[in-house]
Every structure is written in structure tokens, then in C-alpha cells.
Symmetry: C2
Subunit: 410 residues, 2 copies
């Protein structure tokens, strides 16, 4: 290991956002390197949810839709998330899941480009993106064109209505150049849909600066909104009036409480709401976003890049001696905030590592992922995580891991 624990300590002492670690309820004896899959629990969230349940629901009952501000939550939390992704407050709402929101935007984008029938996307993407695109193409009479990641831009033609890509890849953490890709897609006359699930909270995102059209993202990864937190959806102001959601539920209506028979979409991005907002999940998400908004975000993202360098440096012997292969691009601007390696015994290695209190995850067929979440990980955590992985390999302890269990999901 080239960088030592002493170096990590020095980095921690100089860390301008180190105090945020105390704002999370982290279990003792665990180094949590899977916040890219499910973010940790902010300390304020449990009492906030208890109040939502006991006071707002229990005491306020139906009155809380007005009195506790429930009805405004999708727009209010959206406006807060907007500040993390370089959007205007009125361009973002919180609604449904990432999957459902991808469907909405694919349908809306295709309708906004009549005469063009192709949804263009990449193979090897997070599967829900591919599955939803396939299902949308099938249901809406469109054509799905899924090509290798490097071939996407080369197959942009005048048949393409919209391009769906993930900004930071869920497996490799490779990050696309959002401005450059968006510009090329625009030059081809298509609309661009970004999936920010592994970006929001992990790296700086500047949707307005990149001329982005449409985006979705996940509330439960780097944003720490809780398991199955509702997702967010962005529509650039210039496009709003011309886009229609196919999922025209009552919360997207201009006046839902008029209970009229006829659909009339809300003026703003609220037209992409559908059913009644999932308040418990929304309240947990808002609590986490409020914490995010306290942080010096450029400092957070600088720290994220430094944590990555530290892990990569500490992991060099794994590559040199133990058959690990780094999957993530090394240049800071070309990656997100997790680090991924392949190893032929990846499943057993991850199992042994988790048994030692260092939680990363395994993705088929041979990928080990480690989330480097800058709000609640110290440099020492990251160093110790990498060190434990090194020990698992040096000692051969991974050979004792049990056979792969059927039906376990992460």
C-alpha cells in the first residue's frame, strides 16, 4: 500500500466537510462503501419521519395535505434537488421511480419529434433504462436502437427522436461529457434524456450549463433519500410547454381538486406528476436533501475525487499482485464517485470483505464496486476499506467464502 494511514489522517484533518460524517447514523464496526447503491441514513431523518408519522399523519390526518405542506412537497423537494444539479427551481419535480420517469420522458420526447421513430441508447447500461426503453418502444410503436457505448454518437441520424444515456455508468463509473453529447444530439435534431442516478450528489452536474433537455435521477443513492425513495425528473424550461406526459394522473392536472372530467395539464413541470405523492418517502428524501444543501458542494465534489485517488492508490497492489483490473477511468473528469474492478473470483472476494465489515457490492459477472460517498466517508475509512481488501487477498481468506447463494439480490 503506497499511501499510508498517516496520510489519510492528514487528509481528514484538512477536510473542510469532515463534520458531515457526524450528521449520519452509521453502524459501528462497518466501513460502508455501498452508498452508490443505498445511501446511509442521515441522523435527522429518523426524528423527522417520526414527526411525520405521529404528528402529521396521526394527529393532523387529512388536514396535513394543507397544514403540513404535503401537497407542495413534489415541487418543493424538486426545487431543492435543482440546486444540486444546476437546474432552475421550477424545472424539477420529485415523482414515482426512475423507471416510471424514464417512460414518461421517452414518450414525451418521441411525441415532440414527430416523424422520427427511433429511441437511441447504449447496451450495457443499467438494465431498467434498457428495459423501459424496450417497453416504451413496443407500447408506443417506436423502434429501439441499442448499440455499444462507443457507437452511440456514430449512429445518430435523422430517424432518432431521442437519446437516452446515463451520465455516470452504474458499473464502471465512466462519466460522459454531458455538454458535448447534448450538443451532438441537438445537432442531429433529437432530444437528449440523461439518467443522473449515479451522478446526483456524486459529481458536479450543470444541466443548464450543458443545455440539457430532460433528465431523471434516483433519490436513494448519493442523495441518501432512503430505500426506494422517490425519483426526480427535470424538464428544461424552454421545452415545458411543448411536452406532454403519457401518464396523466390527477396530480399532474392544472387543478386536481376541481375534480373535472377533462384533462388539462399543469403549466409547469408539475404536469409530469401522476398519482398521489408518496409522502413518507418524500419526507425522508427532503430531510436528506436539506442536509446536502448545508454542504459546500464544490468542496464535497473535490473530496469525492480525492477519496477515489486514495482508494485507487491503495488498491494498486491488488492490480499488480492479485489479478484485479480497474474498470473506472482514472481521470477525475471522466468518472463518477465509485470505483470498480473486475476479478474472476469477485463474488467470493466481496463476500469475504463484507464478512470483515467492509461493505461494497458485486455486480455480475465479475465486478466489485466501492461507493466513495464524500459526505460521510473519511479518508481513513477509504484507506481502511482498501487495506482490508488487500488483506483478504494476501491471506487468501476469500477462498473460504461459501458458494454463491441463489436469490440474494445484492
Amino acid at each position: 500500500m503506497s499511501a499510508g494511514l498517516a496520510d489519510a489522517k492528514i487528509l481528514d484533518e484538512a477536510d473542510p466537510v469532515r463534520d458531515f460524517r457526524r450528521r449520519f447514523a452509521l453502524p459501528a464496526g462497518v466501513i460502508y462503501l455501498d452508498g452508490n447503491s443505498l445511501g446511509a441514513l442521515p441522523a435527522a431523518t429518523a426524528p423527522r419521519l417520526a414527526r411525520a408519522v405521529e404528528t402529521e399523519w396521526g394527529e393532523g390526518l387529512i388536514r396535513s395535505w394543507n397544514d403540513a405542506g404535503w401537497i407542495g412537497a413534489p415541487a418543493r423537494v424538486g426545487a431543492k434537488i435543482a440546486r444540486l444539479i444546476g437546474a432552475a427551481a421550477h424545472e424539477v419535480i420529485v415523482a414515482d421511480s426512475t423507471s416510471v420517469n424514464i417512460f414518461k420522458l421517452l414518450a414525451a420526447a418521441a411525441r415532440a419529434r414527430p416523424g422520427r421513430r427511433v429511441i437511441l441508447t447504449e447496451t450495457g447500461n443499467f438494465p431498467t433504462d434498457l428495459y423501459v426503453a424496450a417497453g416504451a418502444a413496443d407500447a408506443l410503436g417506436l423502434e429501439l436502437r441499442a448499440v455499444a457505448p462507443g457507437a452511440v454518437m456514430g449512429t445518430l441520424d435523422s430517424d432518432v427522436a431521442c437519446v437516452l444515456l446515463t451520465h455516470v455508468h452504474y458499473k464502471t463509473a465512466a462519466r460522459r461529457d454531458m455538454a458535448a453529447v447534448t450538443a451532438k444530439v441537438h445537432a442531429a435534431g433529437a432530444l437528449m434524456i440523461w439518467d443522473l442516478s449515479h451522478s446526483a450528489g456524486a459529481v458536479e452536474v450543470d444541466l443548464r450549463g450543458c443545455g440539457a433537455d430532460l433528465a431523471v435521477g434516483c433519490g436513494y443513492k448519493f442523495l441518501n433519500g432512503g430505500p426506494g425513495a422517490p425519483a426526480f425528473l427535470f424538464v428544461a424550461e424552454a421545452l415545458l410547454a411543448s411536452l406532454a406526459s403519457p401518464l396523466t394522473g390527477w396530480m399532474g392536472h392544472a387543478a386536481p381538486f376541481d375534480f373535472s372530467d377533462d384533462w388539462r395539464p399543469a403549466a409547469g413541470v408539475g404536469r409530469f406528476l401522476c398519482g398521489t405523492p408518496p409522502m413518507l418517502g418524500l419526507i425522508a428524501l427532503e430531510s436528506a436533501i436539506d442536509l446536502w444543501l448545508e454542504a459546500d458542494r464544490p468542496a464535497v465534489w473535490k473530496k469525492a475525487a480525492r477519496l477515489w485517488d486514495l482508494f485507487a492508490d491503495a488498491a494498486r497492489p491488488l492490480v499488480e499482485r492479485h489479478g484485479f483490473e480497474l474498470l473506472t477511468p482514472a481521470a477525475a473528469e471522466r468518472r463518477g464517485s465509485h470505483i470498480a474492478f473486475t476479478h474472476p473470483n469477485g463474488y467470493a472476494v466481496m463476500h469475504a470483505l463484507i464478512a470483515r465489515g467492509v461493505i461494497g457490492d458485486f455486480r455480475e459477472p465479475d465486478v466489485l464496486r466501492f461507493g466513495l460517498t464524500p459526505l460521510y466517508l473519511s479518508h481513513q475509512d477509504v484507506w481502511r476499506g482498501a487495506r482490508t481488501l488487500y488483506e483478504v487477498m494476501e491471506s487468501g481468506a476469500w477462498r473460504d467464502a461459501p458458494a454463491r447463494a441463489e436469490g440474494r439480490v445484492t
Copy 2:
């Protein structure tokens, strides 16, 4: 008032499910007659959610998808709800919102009836049903035929792919004959989609006994799942293999954690899942359903009908002396478990009533609704609620209510 408080007391003493009232956290000084809109908080739900947040999320982190049974929750809670609606365990899942689930079933039903292009539904239904049907027709190239409630069966023809109706009407509480309607729709060669939002937990529902095809319903009304609780979706076993969801998110995949590029639907009703399950909402809903499953349900539904009779009886002077008009059918088998009246000053009357601690709700343009939830309302509650309404009218207190507030939602 014909039935007196003494009669209500006698009914309470004889009530076989009266002990369930203590299993809810009801605010002091309130008679809550709006459980048809947002059900009350079960006492067990707050500690259950605290454990889910602090232990399962906070301590277990990503491991809880396996170790706390999160990943199985949509099917597990669905199987529990199945027992409340006369379905088999494997025919029901919990997912998304009622609105999103209506879209899924409309698209699936239309695909299963190729050559038929019409979605048939009724005007005046809960608006999300109408809006989603209109949006689905528009997006999928179908035709929406929305006719007056009494005209639906008369306009069934060979162009109709599916019929979407609500079992118990959200405003009037009128209940349709599920078996008879389903049989007529089948005879016309179409598929029937029931919205059970105001039925589940309110009245006996026997989906299998009625030969039902497809259904959706709401988790946060009579089921007490909490604000914006996830919804449920039913597909009859015989139809499962032939139906495809248009919202093909990763949780509906046969093997989501294989992360393959190609969509392959789960074998069962799980194919109608979409994104990552909203765990906080699901856990709150499960806690409420577990309480439901403890109750003697035939006794609960018998009590619901008795509460209705009691309110209607106590409200007779309002009809005779104060211009109230009963909207709900009087026959027990033709209604759900709320009671609705029209009154030209309905908004002001409801405002005055709420100010006196009796919470019902107002629906445009002139409807007062009172939910008669049998698990946590006593006969005395219902009698007192009706009595307070009578006093508001007799005293003219409703004339002091402030003018209608813009932007208040219930």
C-alpha cells in the same frame, strides 16, 4: 335525531370488533370521518417504521434488501391484501400509485384484445381514472369512450377492448354489482378493470368469485397505509401469461439481478412491478394490513353497514329541515362505506363542522362526504358526528365560516 346516544352505546357494547379502535393512534377531541380519503394511523405503524428506518436502513443498510425481506415486500404485502379482496396470494402485488397501475392495466388489456380500439369508462368517475384513460388512449393510439354511468353497459360493443369502472364511487359511494358487470363485459368479449380504491377494506370484495380480470386499488384509504401509500394491482391467474406491462422496469424482470440487456418478464404478477419498491411506504402499508388480517372481516363489514344506517338515521332531520340531499344509495349492497350528501352551502357547512372537531370532507361542487371506517369508529363517534352536523345547521353556525380559500386541497 331518531336514534339516540343510548342506542349507539348499546351498539358499541355489542360490537365484536370494538377493540380495534385501541389499535389506532387517534387524536383527542376529533371525530374522524375522513378515513375514506386518508385512513388513520395504526398504533403499531410508528414503532414499525422507526425500526425500519433506524435498524433496517440505518444499521442494515444495503444488506436489508435480503436480510430484512425488503425485496420480497411487493409480493408479500400483495399476498396479504389478496385475502381482503378475494384473490389468490400470487395474483396481487403492491407497486407504484393507483394512477400508474391503471395505465399499466389499460395498456395490457388493450394489447390482449387486438383489433379492438376502445377504452370504455364512465364520466364523473374519480378524475385520475378518466385522466389516465385519456392519456393512455392518446399515447397508445386507442379511443376513449367516456359515457354517463348509466349508459356504460348499453355502449358495450365489439370495438371495446376494456372497460374501466370504479366499484364504489368516490363521491356518491354507489357500489356496482361486480359479478353482473364483469359477466356482461365478458359476454361482449372485453376485459374488465376494476378500481377498488373505495372498496378495499370498506366492503366485502370477492374478485375470484366475480370472475374478475384485472383490478387496482389504493393503499391509503380504508386500508390505512399512510399518506401516498403504494397501490395494489390484481391480475387473474388465467390472464397472467398473456398480459404484458408497458412499464417494463427492472423489478418486473424475471431475474433483475442478472443485469442482462434483454427484457424477460417475471412469470407471475411480478411482471407488473416497475422500479425499486418504495420501502418506507410499503412497510407502513404492511403494518396496517397485518392489523386488518387480525380482524373478523365479515363482522367488520357488517359493522360498516350498521354505522352507515346509524348516520343516515341521525341525519334524517338534515334532509327534512335543512336542504340536505342524500347522494348514497340506501340499500346496503348498493353502497360502500361512506355517506354523501349535497348541500348548496356544503363548503361552509364542512368548514364549520371541522372547526368543531368533526372531520369529513367536501368535494366540488356541493358534496359533503363522511367516511364510516369500521375498524376505528365507534357507533357513538358516528352518532356524535351526525349530531354535531345537526347542531351546526340548527344554530346557523355554518354562516360564520370564512370565504372559500384558494389552493386548499381537501
